[in-house]
Amino acid sequence: MREKENMAEEKKMVIKVVGLKKSFHVGIQDIPVLYGINLEITEGEFVLLVGPSGCGKSTLLHSIYGLENPTEGTVFIEEEDIWSRTKDWRAHFRNHFIGFIPQQPFWIKSLTVIENIAIPGVIAGRTFDESIVIAAKLIELVGMGKWADHRPFDLSGGQQQRIALARSLLLDPKFLIADEPTGNLDFRSGEELMTLVRNISQQFKITILMVTHNTDQYKFGSRIVNMVDGQITSDIINKQSLSKLEEMGEVKKTGETKIVA
């Protein structure tokens, strides 16, 4: 176990948020949302970004994902300052290197489930046929194979989020960014999805940054970053969770995970 921790410490830094400030312009007022966030995430971590509603979690997440332009500061991903680049560069970067699971499932309504999963490949310039070959493997991975030819909106919330997970993995991303993917799910579906995300992240060595405010899910994260009013108030390693990495089944069963600083 100790070895594992050491390994984690040695792992290279993949996300580095430096002095990130963001304020929204409303009328004649500037309303600050993020007050100089500094955050470093290393390879293989499963970081849960937690905090009360309106504390700026999603804004931070979107800034890291390259959608929300920070007022000050920047984000480095693998030493690449993403906010010094063009919009198209960021679009390309998101497409090829980051998987994204939004809070609510968003779909191309006219396409089937498997075609929707294939979308990142299509955006990257591949044909639908080529992308569907990969999508077919991923849909099996998330256990939704029999729904391939349905319309996404015919599925339940939990099923849709599994599909969204499959879609986020299509181009084999290095990072996965998820904005409260279990926010609209019942407990059971939420647990199932979290287990799936965690298993996949381990299997494919994907670094995960996820926003949640469901305390039941803290057990899944290897690190819990707590935000209040646009600032990080605590940043803790979830040791218990780390020790249970290989025993996810048990964690799920007992639900006894404690947060240890």
Binding site: L67, D88, F100, Q104, F106, K109, S110, I134, L171
Partner: protein
Amino acid sequence: MSFFSHQKKNEIARTQKVRTRFSHMRISSVLFIGYRNMFANRMRSILTIGGVAIGIGVITLLISLGFGVQEMVIHEVTKNNPSDIIDITNKSLESFVLLDKNTLERIRGIDGIEQVEIRSSIGGKLFQGDSQTDVVINAVSRHYLDLARSDVSQTLREKIFTEPEGILITPKLANLLGFENPSESIGKTIEYSAVVTDDMLADVEDVPEETPKNEHENMVTIVGIINDQTKDDAVYAYISIEEIRERYGGVTGQFAKARVKNESSIESVRLQIEQTAFVTESVIDTIADINSFFLIVRSILIVFGVIIMSISAMGMLNTLSISLLQRTKEVGILKALGTKRTDIFKIFIFEAFLISFLGGIIGLVFGYGAARGVNYLMNIFAIRYGVVASSFVEVPTAFVISIVIFIFFLGLITGIFPAMRASKIHALEALRYE
């Protein structure tokens, strides 16, 4: 796992190599999404494409009939009036100039003229048994019919000259003479008289020396039936002018037809003929009249077409705008997943092109089909009423090309604004949009 790792390596390598050249969606994928979206909103798509198809179809129908009828009319007009022929007539009865020997020589002397043939239309009567009929007797020179009536066969045209005292009559005239079936009249000998006054006589080239025969001995044989091209009930006859001259003396021509050596010199030849106090007509004048008439018809059709297409275009714009509103979230997720602005633009503009081109092609095909259908129905009626069936559907290549250009611009103009708006949508705004 190895599959994904391998794929990822390739991806990184590719991105590092071409940092500034980003991959874009394939046109085939863009079209596929457009097609699926149209299919998902079937009724709306059918109505919009139908609107464009009806617009283009009506224009195609009207224009193809317009051009077709114009072609047919010109063809019919020029069939018996080749464009190298000039009609020579008198200006008015007050200053009537006879086409006597001198006048004809003068006309023949004009540079560029190849041949001049004359006709004299004389009022007269035909007698058959107890029945008699008033008739216009057209006394014509040897090759007049060659220039005037190419619809009549060569043998028939020559019969009045090759057979002694032959006459050609119209079917109606045969009926009036008592022959129920006009062909029964062929070979029958009938009597005729013509009203030839002194002022119709002048110095002609081949005045017969013998004195005119007794009026009642004017016997002719019907050698053929000639249909009139415009009227079924026309009553006239053709006879050789020599025959008339033998009986009535030097009857001159009142009308002439001249053939020019070179079609391009026709205008200068006409000018010279007109200097000899005659008026000239050429089929070129008629064609010009026909063309200017059809130009007006087409202009009216174009106005109709513009109105119809404006309605279709507004329908299309409406559909595309609604489509964009309904798909704001789709645009949002596409952008969030890394779709570039130009690709979003392409998705919407290509959907507009899909609608306009599908509508346009369906419209062209159905418009042409409808025109052919109208042609077919008209021909059924034509045949029933004894008129020769003809084709009056004409789709000029230039029209097809302009329709293709038009539907391209229709797609572009109706698609460009929704596409621009879509490409400017911010991913987060779209994702927050409820």
